[in-house]
Symmetry: none
Subunit: 498 residues, 2 copies
């Protein structure tokens, strides 16, 4: 039984890249899927899409996903639509093929069940012809990968009922999507017309030898594409208009549209009436947000997107990473050993957005991660490098204790210091303090015991002498430091004065 009321099982007609993406999105939302695809390879192909989706969802959210739905693959359209609560057609983009499948399927389905077509450009009025109860056919046009991109364009044909559109909105919203209901039925709907316009210009640029495929892509992903991930052109240009807003922008830059900048320069005449409409719609879109407010929002989004991409090491994130490397290289690096008369600074980072949980601050398990990253830095410092690991030795953690003292949130700069509490030839007892960088507040502590192991036998063995020497050099001065009040605590121990 699906956790979404009224959506226990869906029927999918077609299991290609789009149909497979739909299958993944429904299954991960706990909805059972019956999928029709005549391709004998369909089970493998759909399975691969689902594997990708499972992996991406696990990364994307910590929210409690329901138990996965069950997938059944069938060989006729009729089998896919009996006893289901919603039907999504994603057959190849040929009108006659879609009509043939939908005619057969709609005759077999319960008359109240809504059919949505994934078509990226065919008109619903044409698609619904010949269907049993054509009023229940809507276009629900998704974007690849369907399991990650929220957009789905909803468009009705002449015969489509409002109820069918409302049902599609409800279904897509329940599985985490963002429906965009269009008022007019046109070829290509809205999104693909915009995409095609850019694609056509891209092909001209390549055709005319102005730029290569890679240069054209770079011109998008390092520039305007970063903005388009959260704001469309109208809002971006409104901000560019500054204090004077949209009318100023149109007056200043409208005329450049007439310049010979593209292969095709036919533009709507910028009449007063059209200008008024653009300005009014832009005002409506901005709600009451002023130009400065939008500017800060734009910058916050850009920072978040670029930082997100840095974690993947791609696109603008790769540029940022390279830039930061240069900044570090240019900064003054102390060449000598750090001062061991205080805990070692072992880790500095910022709290990533996905570390924040439903309480609005960093999830407790992420302090374990921070402390672990700091401990890894400590182990590297005492000589546990890649070569040492290849030699069949490593330190394994045997136990940890964490105290959560104050809070931190997304974007907060934090740093971690490490103090050696004890050591012998096989063990290191380490204590880490996690601080907010802004005010140096102690936000959490981590206490860990490490055992040195032979990784070929998984048995405890003494560490090599050069490792032990480095530990001793740090542990000696650290023994003079105060013992942290959190050290040696067990869970539920009475609280001592701090």
């Amino acid at each position: 039984m699906s956790p979404i009321p009224g959506l226990n099982r869906v029927g999918l007609l077609g299991g290609g890249v789009i149909g497979g993406g739909w299958a993944a999105r429904f299954l991960l939302n706990g909805v059972d899927v019956v999928l029709f695809d005549p391709d004998p390879e369909a089970p493998r192909k759909v399975g691969e899409v689902i594997d990708n989706a499972r992996r991406a969802f696990a990364k994307m959210t910590m929210a409690p996903l329901p138990k996965e739905g069950e997938l059944r693959i069938v060989t006729t359209p009729q089998e896919a639509v009996v006893g289901v609560d919603f039907i999504q057609e994603s057959a190849p983009e040929r009108l006659e093929l879609k009509r043939s499948i939908l005619t057969r399927a709609s005759a077999a389905a319960d008359p109240s069940v809504v059919f949505a077509s994934s078509t990226s450009g065919l008109l619903p009025t044409q698609i619904q012809q010949g269907m049993d109860h054509p009023e229940r056919l809507v276009v629900g046009h998704p974007f690849n990968p369907v399991y990650l991109l929220p957009l789905v364009e909803i468009c009705g044909g002449e015969a489509t009922s409002d109820a069918a559109k409302a049902r599609a909105v409800d279904v897509y919203t329940a599985i985490g999507m963002r429906p965009l209901v269009l008022g007019k039925e046109i070829d290509g709907f809205v999104a693909d017309r915009l995409l095609e316009a850019l694609w056509r210009e891209a092909l001209w640029l390549l055709n005319d030898g102005v730029a290569t495929a890679e240069q054209i892509d770079d011109a998008i992903r390092f520039g305007a594409g970063l903005r388009w991930s959260f704001m469309g052109t109208f809002l971006v240009y409104r901000i560019a208009g500054g204090e004077a807003g949209m009318r100023h922008f149109m007056n200043q830059f409208g005329p450049t549209l007439q310049w010979p900048w593209t292969k095709l320069t036919d533009v709507p005449e910028l009449t007063d009436e059209l200008l008024d409409r653009i300005v009014a719609q832009s005002d409506e879109q901005a709600r009451d947000a002023g130009f400065r407010e939008l500017e800060v929002l734009r910058d916050d989004c850009l920072v978040a997107v670029i930082q997100g991409l840095r974690s993947v090491g791609y696109g603008a994130g790769e540029v940022l990473a390279g830039y930061e490397k240069a900044l570090f290289a240019r900064a003054h690096v102390p060449s000598d050993e750090p001062d061991h008369s205080m805990p070692l600074l072992t880790h500095e980072t910022r709290i990533p957005a996905d570390w924040v949980d439903y309480n609005g601050h960093t999830n407790d398990s992420r302090y374990a991660q921070l402390s672990c990253d700091a401990a890894d830095a400590f182990l590297r410092r005492i000589g546990m490098d890649a070569e040492y690991l290849r030699g069949g030795h490593s330190y394994f953690t045997v136990e940890s204790h964490l105290s959560y003292i104050a809070q931190s949130g997304a974007g907060d700069a934090v740093y971690v210091t490490s103090q050696v509490l004890g050591h012998d030839s096989k063990r290191i007892h380490l204590f880490n303090r996690m601080h907010r960088a802004d005010d140096d507040a102690l936000i959490a502590t981590g206490e860990h015991m490490y055992l040195h192991v032979d990784t070929t036998t998984n048995r405890t063995v003494p560490a090599q002498q050069h490792i032990l020497d480095r530990i001793a050099a740090i542990a000696g001065p650290h023994a003079e430091l105060d013992r942290p009040v959190q050290a040696g605590r067990y869970v539920g121990a009475p609280r001592t004065a701090e």
Copy 2:
């Protein structure tokens, strides 16, 4: 003295939105700026851009930024170019005005200093006419906001030297940008031609009443715009082509370009020669990355971008936040009470590949995450749902102890059970056992203390009665269970028999 060799001071001609953005980027990189702008409001306007940039940079990077450069605003072009190492012109987009400023400035500047123009569409061959040493004029076209977007298009005119282009590349790279050197000089260069094509189509859609400004923007930012923040159209379409790649995609979707999808449908003829070039350039762009590899990269970037936007609560991030809220609300308590004469099964999952560390098995901090996820499921079970959280109450973790007992690896199915060790009106003492599903081996344990808090004051308060009743119903039978040997351990405690 700037930390960038050979770039101590730059001269900026024009201090509008673009010129101010350049000033901010150079200053934050430790480069002194002399800025010419005749507008008496220039100091205020430039100051506001610099404030925005300072704020954004502080959020964007923790790398050590150099001491900020010094800004001096002057009233003639000549003053701005004496004794500087690089000059960036960002005057209004009128050819005669730019020429007039550049003619005066180039006569005063050292002949070896490179001039770059921020023009978004004028040709460098025209701009450089009349300049002293015109060979040193290049276009360096940035994008708003200049201090955040990495892209800068570099384009030479007929007189431009290769040395001038190389110098511009070096300067922009040093301040964290991504130069795109164009081989051909055309109106609008590459990026703006692509932007204008999309903008023109957007204006048609609005003009024809197909969609509003907000709908058009939504059609971008919830769909293709998310992809464009890291991959351009060519690479995205290559992935869409699947195993068969770019040629397959072009064969399948090339013809749709001829469909009446946009107001302007003139497209280059897809000759064999053009197809071959597209495919060859796409291969070149993909390097040796296969389709599956690119698909995973695309998904990782999308996840990172959407998560980044969630931290801002905007666009696709707002959609994700709303979806997660619904997931929490739906994660309801099972109606039939499980058997409380044994620990509760609270969490089941598989170890994701990225949880495995250099030791080849699950990183210790991930057991904290597993245990935390199980505890969250326990808290939902006793009634801490979305409504309870909205009501201003939650449980916060105060301390945790983890014991690592056996190993697990990527893909291993694991499950977690939870046992209540103690509770009162404000506290829950929970013990979690993590098991490999294959052989039921105990791989780790987690012991946690939770405090019930009023989230508006962050003070400890008793939980509501229905929560306490549910805890009691579980804790009663759990009190009869054996106390786990790992419970009450402190780090380094002598090991008891197990």
